[in-house]
């Protein structure tokens, strides 16, 4: 489970910005990731990417897989320069930060709840890509056991603002999208039940009252 190990290590390094709840996680832009990483440099250690093996990512397109491998290797080399007992020099932080930030952007912790969700979600998105429905703004994935202990794959389908403007259009999309998403999910993850939920892409704070 090297993929799992790598995933966990990066996630620990990025603990300040790795969301706990995938469905409600805010989308992170490069600036907010950088700002969070600059506040504390606990991530600046080779351990943050330990367990990486390019062969564990056969599900990624070749270009994406090679880019991730390059980033991890370069980051490891830079991080190895940092003494475990002293503060990281500014110039090393400046070198390492864009590398680690891009690794985080590639792993998208706000969209994939765990390593298995990343593996399955990426494959589902690739199969959907040639005919990507215009109603879908974003997909998010999580894996685990459902309430009866059966293996499950949760897929949150975020619909575009256009589709979410009125309930009727939203519900029409929520009615037909499972006809393409459900079979793809079952093919990619035949041992997991696909639980689909539909949400508008607008930020939760706009529509939800905590009560």
């Amino acid at each position: 489970m090297a993929l799992q190990e790598f995933w966990n290590n990066v996630r620990i390094g990025a603990s300040l910005i790795a969301p706990q709840v995938t469905a409600d996680a805010p989308r992170l832009d490069p600036a907010s990731i950088e700002s969070a990483l600059r506040r504390a440099t606990l991530w600046l250690t080779p351990r943050a990417v330990e367990g990486f093996n390019e062969a564990d990512f056969p599900f990624l397109p070749q270009e994406e897989r090679e880019r991730l491998a390059k980033l991890v290797n370069e980051f490891s080399e830079v991080a190895a320069q940092v003494s475990p007992t002293d503060a990281a020099p500014r110039e090393v932080v400046d070198l390492a930060l864009p590398l680690f930030r891009e690794i985080l952007q590639m792993l998208e912790f706000h969209r994939y709840g765990d390593a298995e969700a990343y593996r399955l979600g990426k494959q589902i998105e690739q199969k959907l890509q040639p005919h990507w429905p215009k109603e879908i703004a974003e997909l998010r994935f999580n894996t685990g056991l459902d309430h009866t202990g059966d293996p499950a794959l949760w897929i949150w389908v975020f619909l575009t603002e256009d589709v979410s403007k009125d309930d009727e259009t939203f519900l029409r999309a929520a009615q037909w999208l499972p006809t393409i998403l459900d079979p793809i999910a079952r093919r990619v993850a035949p041992d997991r039940w696909p639980y689909l939920s539909f949400r508008p892409i607008t930020e939760p704070a706009e529509a939800v009252e905590a009560s």
């Binding site: 709840v21 409600d24 059966d150 939203f170 639980y195 939920s197 009252e209 009560s211």
Partner: protein, 169 residues
């Protein structure tokens, strides 16, 4: 009106309450009611397989188990029948309407569990409405398929899946 139909209407009303600032309590109860609407529809139909007299049917109704209904539904939704009733030579394709019902049952049961117990996530109004709509579509699909053998076998599987799936002696 029947209990299941009332529950479905109630689910819709709860999801539509507070259109601007929906309360989590109402959205969660909407999702939960949508599940129970479908649960009671199917449990009522399954009980009617055995008894027409209301008292007897109600007593049979109480014997339904959510977990066993989910197990049967997830198998039927995946084109699987218990071994004892599989066609000789194997291979079974669940009729589309029945598959919709079984699929909706599994999805709604999990959603109901999250709505009732998972406080770490929020529900959105349109998300809740989509679950209510899913239940309504399942009602409609059930209306089209309920008089078929496939539908009756599905209902019987709520009680008999385990027994029918044991290796034939």
């Amino acid at each position: 009106m029947s209990l299941h139909a009332d529950l479905l209407d109630q689910a819709e009303q709860l999801a539509q309450l507070d259109p601007r600032r929906p309360k989590q309590a109402n959205l969660r109860r909407a999702v939960s009611s949508a599940y129970y609407a479908l649960f009671h529809l199917l449990a009522w139909e399954a009980s009617a397989l055995y008894a027409a007299e209301p008292g007897m049917a109600a007593r049979i109704n109480r014997t339904h188990n959510h977990g066993e209904m989910k197990k049967a539904s997830s198998m039927i939704a995946n084109d699987k029948l218990p071994k004892a009733v599989q066609p000789s030579g194997g291979g079974y394709t669940t009729p589309l309407d029945l598959k919709s019902v079984a699929n909706a049952f599994v999805r709604l049961q999990q959603a109901r569990h999250e709505a009732d117990y998972d406080l770490s996530r929020t529900f959105r109004k349109q998300e809740a409405l989509a679950f209510v709509k899913l239940a309504r579509q399942a009602f409609e699909a059930w209306g089209r398929v309920r008089r078929t053998d496939d539908a009756r076998v599905y209902l019987a599987c709520f009680h008999l899946w385990k027994r029918w799936d044991e290796d034939p002696r």
